[in-house]
Point group: C3
Chain length 268, copies 3
């Protein structure tokens, strides 16, 4: 099957099954990520209480773990939830927001990355730091590096962590160490709305939850979000209207549009 | 007074008094619920610190308690706040988000429901679980059951908890065990925006805060939100623009429109 | 340099340098404040973990501290972060949301105000309470007093706390005890969107982060937000579309528009 058709098929599965996606996600991203998941057809739940982590992982199709506004009780919940995901065979995606910006963040992100996430999604700086590049630091939560600079690091991280790694930026790069994709969708305005990287990870959770294999799941989520970003940018007057139109587009997007506009390609 | 006129009168009271509504509410719902309360004319406060719970309840016209993203420190605040509401005679509304999804959530929701809330609002699954229906489980935070299936449970819960119970869905059902209403306003797009159920509960808080009796307060809040949902849906291109237009509509709505379009009826 | 030109220059600096602004900010405000900072050209980070407070302050251009949804662990983070700001010479802005509404909030706000913030921004009630006016209380988080009633209190607070104080309302007043400004921009609709006061404080952080002196930084941030509020109000149909258009305006605003429309004046 051609890649764009596979993207359309993943969307069909999300729409048909409305999978439950459990997100341990930062405070800034909760609203936009929940609305994006609902708009695309998934069923989001945001929860972090230790006493219900295992229960939510058990009923969810996938888990996403995002360290954007981490603190010790939340990290404890992340560790319990990811352990449960491992035991129960549930796929999970890690978003190491701002890894490299502070030692605490780096320690937590590395501990989570060592727990066999199904997918890790980050910007180029984040992936370089997570792969052990000592020369890279992140400026807060924004990347200071290009995706192409992080390709080798992504492959190394994928091999070491035995997972799929997605580096997002102007053209996204997804690799599981063997198979790789580029996704050439999206719009620069996406960097002007907070938490759209986090939202990408949440959508990867939705694609994993319907059983799409890890590397395609990451590529499909990025293609769906990117195509919707392109649609949203047409007629947007700034990041406020862009965000509103992006949520509209995630609701309206259909398979035919994805087949025509998704730019997912196999890569080295 | 006809029901639609009573709805209009409650709105007038909110606009005229700008009642302070204290919300202990989940992270996902905070933004949209605060904006909805402001738009309709109320004055929202979101606070959860144990050391100020009693003080906020004392100055507020009503309290709302929402367990969407509960954790032990927040539950402790909920218990202190609801105890204060009881002592000070302040009305309060409970939103048992996702009760039934995990044992922790069910335990907390039942403990809160036993503390004499003025109103409990939930979807059909939530009300069935809270009323003790062992055969029902909730899928995350979305309902798997219709409102009509939960009518008996709502009446039983209202009798047991000595409160008003509102079951929201395509046609809402409100009962205090004796008097009952249906509210036939709203739009399917409301299920595609996160936290609009939570927002309904926040608006019930506003209606309680101006002294409307419990069952009418719940029905009026649901009618106001539902009518605004119908207005918002006209011209919305998806859940993003729908949400924006809903907030606009809550600001613009007037008594004449409510008298013409609110579909609140007495029921069995 | 004329004041409006100085406002335009501050905006140019933000756009040119994309300063990192670290915000310890309430849950309700996180989304809109982060989006406002991104739209205007700054780089926001929201973080509150004790273990990374000092590290974030060290890499940020400025810190903002907002007590809207305070709780003990967050207050601890605020104390560590503001101590680090003092040691590292980083400017920081305090937003004493709802001070006066509860004793806990008042105690925490006074403790923070005693730690030499660079700027304190509040509504008239908040500044009156913080300056020690025993006759004022705040109704939740909304002001019950006019800006002009708080001018003396603002000057006294500026002298006592050795900082700049900004009182926001219909016409804002900014004073460092010696130099003062009024800012006559904005629109009444801004009071109908939650957390725009918090957003003003976040924007003050951005202006401080590019090296603008404290009193001008506060005035420029309020002028930028106010002018964008005026632009947003044209064509808005309510607070929902107003908020969207405000974010768009913060992205589109340029120096020429500010030079023509910013109403910043020296005052007594």
């Amino acid at each position: 099957m051609e890649h764009p058709s596979a993207v359309a098929e993943t969307l069909d599965h999300i729409r048909g099954r409305a999978p439950l996606v459990h997100n341990i996600i930062n405070y800034v991203a909760m609203d936009v990520a929940a609305n994006a998941l609902l708009a695309v057809g998934a069923s989001p739940v945001m929860a972090h209480a230790l006493d219900e982590m295992r229960d939510f992982v058990a009923i969810a199709g996938a888990l996403t773990v995002n360290i954007g506004t981490l603190s010790p009780p939340w990290v404890e919940a992340m560790l319990v939830a990811t352990a449960a995901a491992g035991e129960l065979g549930k796929p999970w995606a890690l978003d190491p927001v701002g890894v490299g910006a502070t030692p605490y963040r780096t320690t937590v992100a590395r501990e989570l990355a060592a727990r066999r996430p199904t997918v890790i999604r980050g910007n180029a700086s984040e992936i370089l730091v997570l792969a052990g590049d000592a020369a890279t630091s992140t400026k807060g939560v924004d990347s200071t590096r290009g995706v192409d600079e992080a390709r080798d690091a992504a492959r190394a991280l994928a091999a070491n962590a035995r997972c799929t790694v997605a580096v997002t930026g102007a053209v996204d790069y997804v690799t599981d160490g063997t198979t790789a994709f580029t996704v050439a969708n999206g719009h620069p305005m996406m960097t002007k709305v907070t938490a759209l990287g986090c939202t990408a990870t949440a959508l990867i959770g939705a694609c994993l939850a319907v059983g799409t294999a890890p590397a395609p799941a990451a590529a499909h989520a990025l293609a769906i979000l990117g195509v919707c970003g392109e649609i949203a940018a047409r007629g947007a007057e700034g990041p406020g209207s862009f965000r509103m139109r992006l949520i509209d587009a995630l609701h309206q997007i259909d398979g035919n549009t994805l087949r025509r506009t998704a730019r997912v390609h196999s890569a080295a």
